[in-house]
Amino acid sequence: MDTRAFDPAMIVAVIPDLLRFLDVTLLVAITSIVLGSLGGIALAWMKLSKKRVLFAIAEAYIYIMRCTPSIVLLFIVFYGLPELLFSFFGFNANTVHRAVFAILTFTLLFSAYISEVFRAAYLAVPKGQYEAAVSIGLSPWQAVFRVVLPQAAVIALPNFGNATINLMKEGALAYTIGLIDLIGQGSLIIAQNFGAYGIETYTACMLIYWILTLLIEQAFARLERRLDKGQSFAVRDAAKKPGFLPNWMKGGEAHGA
């Protein structure tokens, strides 16, 4: 390896080139978050249900996802799924865009993470809110949709934000299956320079991700302030009582996701 000096100007120089592929990164992340949230709602509903089979299936799925490295799941989906599809359905998945495999993987992961956030938020709304709603004549469905869920959504928001940021970072793995996103483009730039400017290019990628994270954090903080309408006072008061919120929610950081 040569002892070429570190060139800070190069960091700035590659940023426009990298940003051209930011849309791929964001598309994969946002699609996975939307689809994963739908899956997460289903899983949370299963875990709250009184049917043992549904509960067990959701519990097992969430546990397995929690123990699976994202890269392993990505490789199973990318390398294994086409084989399965071909042998069972004669479907040739080789023409399917790589982004689809990435989205499928991250949807599977995100639905498991986020279902726990949804479930905890639902349980964090005091039971009296539901009771008060039905006592004034709302049907059980109305009580859930008009009273409990809007409050649960506000409670879930900070952890949803954390999970979103984590998913965006996990999305960086997609370049390992050859998807040309931000980092994929970074690797191409390095290859074009015959391995030089690796440090500068990676630093540029990191800066972009860091800024993206800070922007998402800001956006969620603002959204939270707009939505909470004084509700968080009540939640915060209630949260002082032990056992009201699960431990990992009190810190305000979702380390699990």
């Binding site: 005091p126 809110q129 709302l138 008009r146 009273v147 006072f233």
Partner: protein, 255 residues
Amino acid sequence: MLMQIRGVRKSFGDHEVLRDVNMELDRGDVITILGPSGSGKTTFLRCLNFLEQADGGTMELAGDKINLASASKKEIASVRKKTAFVFQNYNLFANKTALENVTLGLTAGRGMDKAKAEEIGRKALEKVGLLERAGYYPAQLSGGQQQRVGIARAVAAAPDVILFDEPTSALDPELVGEVLAVMKQLAEEGVTMIVVTHEMKFARDVATHVIFMADGVVVEEGSSEEIFTRPKEERTKRFLKRVLPEDYEEGALFI
């Protein structure tokens, strides 16, 4: 007879909380239920609104007879529309303003149009003296104010009977008075109420009928004067001795 309740039973696991509780009331009655904690009085009240499902018992309300243990969803909905509940810890909807708390049951529950509901809501808030706080969220109100909104929410539905579950026990002592004053005013207007409470003075001054419960059964019942001045049962006497001022003598409250 507005309401007739027969043979209410309820167990939590092995623990029998209610054993054959009966009660009847007429329009305009104010019934207070007294009793030591753990006597089952709150559970009884919650069974009447199906917040707990009783194991047995029937309720006849304004002509409809309903089995408390096996009521259909439709029957439950109809009872809830004819009754209202005021909770110990208020349970105001945390994400809705005082006015929205009062109107939600009218618009979403009964399909009333919004303008009409707001008109009724404002009247109800005015009745509890909180019209100027209509736009406040629960977290911005004191406990006493929250409970008054809770009462307004119940009143707005114009129910046949309002169920009060220890409405003042979560309040700081200096805030109890404002809530009791509102309840007394309602009683004077002829609102039918069942009140589970520890407020002896309220029971004495306002109740038309007092029920004393212990260990899941009604030990004794009668007019407030009967219960407070001439309790017949030993358990009632012991309870009154304990909860009333130290210098309690039978009848002292009526001097």
